[in-house]
Amino acid sequence: MKIEANNVRVSYGSEQVLKGITMSIKKNTVTAFIGPSGCGKSTFLRCFNRMNDLIETCKVEGQIMIDESDIYHPKVNINELRKSVGMVFQKPNPFPKSIFENVAYGLRINGVTNKKYIEEKVEWAIKQAALWEEVKDKLKKSAFALSGGQQQRLCIARALAVEPSILLMDEPASALDPISTTKIEELIYNLKASYTIIIVTHNMQQATRTSDKTAFFYMGDLIEYDDTRTLFTNPKKQKTQNYITGRFG
């Protein structure tokens, strides 16, 4: 068991957006969170690296265990946690730095100064993100010079460079063209061997193509959670059925 959520409730001020989610996610699998906008899937994703803590009015209750340790325990160091739980965002958000420095960022903020080590790590991470061939000759160029899809893979490389064990992806391909999307999906599939991946997506085909398990959220509840194939071919709940056949959402 890699991740275990136990009755997780989240509220913004008086508005409850997650009403008690319990689920467990196995190591080295890809789990997709699907559901209509505002169903709480992104909020739930942000519980795993405690990004919700940045919002003043946000309150998280319940328990989340990663590797059998409670990440909301008072002794947990939030910065340490985020170093082991990487995140990729909806829109590519490279820093206004060179391609190289973007990937080296995580190492630098960890105080790594060994130049050789940084170079090796950066190359390794960019290769992991299947971007090396495209950028190896222009590492010193600004990250903004890359295409949207390349920028997103750069952001994945940036997250991988510090070797997290979990990768959270918040609709990572929603701002990209179909070809870039395919590349990201392939990448997700290949990264599964070394990382536990959770991906939030609007796109049900994407969920079927990339994930082992799928969780369907609706109005702050986890409606159904099953093997991806089972959930899409033989859903047990009516709501899931309605959603995957496109009757709402």
Binding site: E56, R82, N93, F95, C155
Partner: protein, 292 residues
């Protein structure tokens, strides 16, 4: 009806064209008298002589001492205002709770609304005596340090406000990306936000610099009236603006060479601030393009 509309439009156009006329007027007036000045004084002397004594019997016309005074006070003000203003901007945009920011930002902007003659009073009556206590027997009654510090306070809100706006304009997604990597706020500020907001921050500094160079009353009151080519902040000096005030307060006949000197000095000031302003426009254009 139609005719009336046309007339109104012509009137409105005339009003906005008046601003062009103002600029033309400034340039013409300054050029006219400055050319008159350079009929009597060579440009070489103006730029290279190290003495400025047009009001003495032994007249020398080197602008350098006045510019040295101007830049000395300006440099001191920037030394005070830039670090302080940046730290305040970072604090208000990244660390302070919302209510604190809502209150403190406008309160700090009060500093920019205070008439400069009040700062002059503060410099001469409070800061100078305080400096004299701090460094006994070294600080003159007039000096560059005291007005420099006070001017730094005057331009502080310019830097803190505009830099805060620039930091605030950095897309939230960059901040999130950095926090998600496990960076602290300080690391995020230093490595992501300040580089990303760099041109906006430089705009604020250039504008503050331009304001400081053109500032008159603080230095006229507290810096003295002794043109002097020095980097010593503890002795009396004279800035370009103070010289203009000094001459116009006296009884100088029109068309005398002394009268023309103030226009030559004014021209110098005008050119310097014009260049600085356009540098800031250029920087601003660059940073509005950065995230489009």
């Amino acid at each position: 009806m139609r005719k009336g509309e046309k007339f109104i439009e012509a009137f409105l156009f005339g009003c906005s064209a008046l601003t062009l006329l103002t600029t033309v007027g400034i340039i013409l007036v300054l050029s006219f008298e400055t050319i008159g000045f350079f009929k009597d004084v060579s440009l070489i002397e103006f730029l290279t002589d190290t003495q400025w004594t047009p009001l003495f019997s032994n007249k020398r016309f080197g602008i350098m001492p006045l510019l040295a005074g101007t830049f000395l006070v300006t440099a001191i003000s920037l030394v005070v205002a830039v670090p302080l203003g940046l730290v305040i901007a970072v604090y208000l945009s990244e660390y302070a709770p919302g209510w604190f920011r809502e209150i403190v930002k406008p309160v700090l902007e009060i500093l920019a609304a205070i008439p400069t003659v009040v700062y002059g009073y503060f410099a001469l009556v409070y800061v100078t005596p305080w400096l004299q206590e701090l460094f006994p027997d070294q600080v003159g009654g007039f000096n560059a340090l005291s007005p420099g510090i006070v001017m730094g306070i005057m331009i502080l809100p310019l830097i803190s406000s505009l830099s805060e706006d620039a930091l605030y304009a950095v897309p939230k997604s960059l901040k999130e990306a950095s926090f998600a990597m496990g960076a602290t706020k300080l690391q995020t500020v230093r490595q992501v936000l300040i580089p990303a907001a760099f041109s906006g921050i430089s705009v604020s500094i250039v504008l503050a610099l331009s304001r400081a160079i053109g500032e008159t009353m603080i230095v006229a009151i507290a810096a003295g009236q002794q043109p002097r080519l020095t980097a010593n902040p503890l002795v009396p000096i004279e800035t370009a603006t103070t010289y203009i005030v000094q001459v116009t307060m006296g009884d100088v006949p029109y068309d005398s060479l002394e009268y023309k000197t103030i226009f030559a000095v004014g021209m110098t000031l005008f050119v310097i601030t014009l260049v600085l302003n356009n540098v800031s426009f250029w920087l601003k254009k660059r940073y509005t393009q950065a995230y489009r």
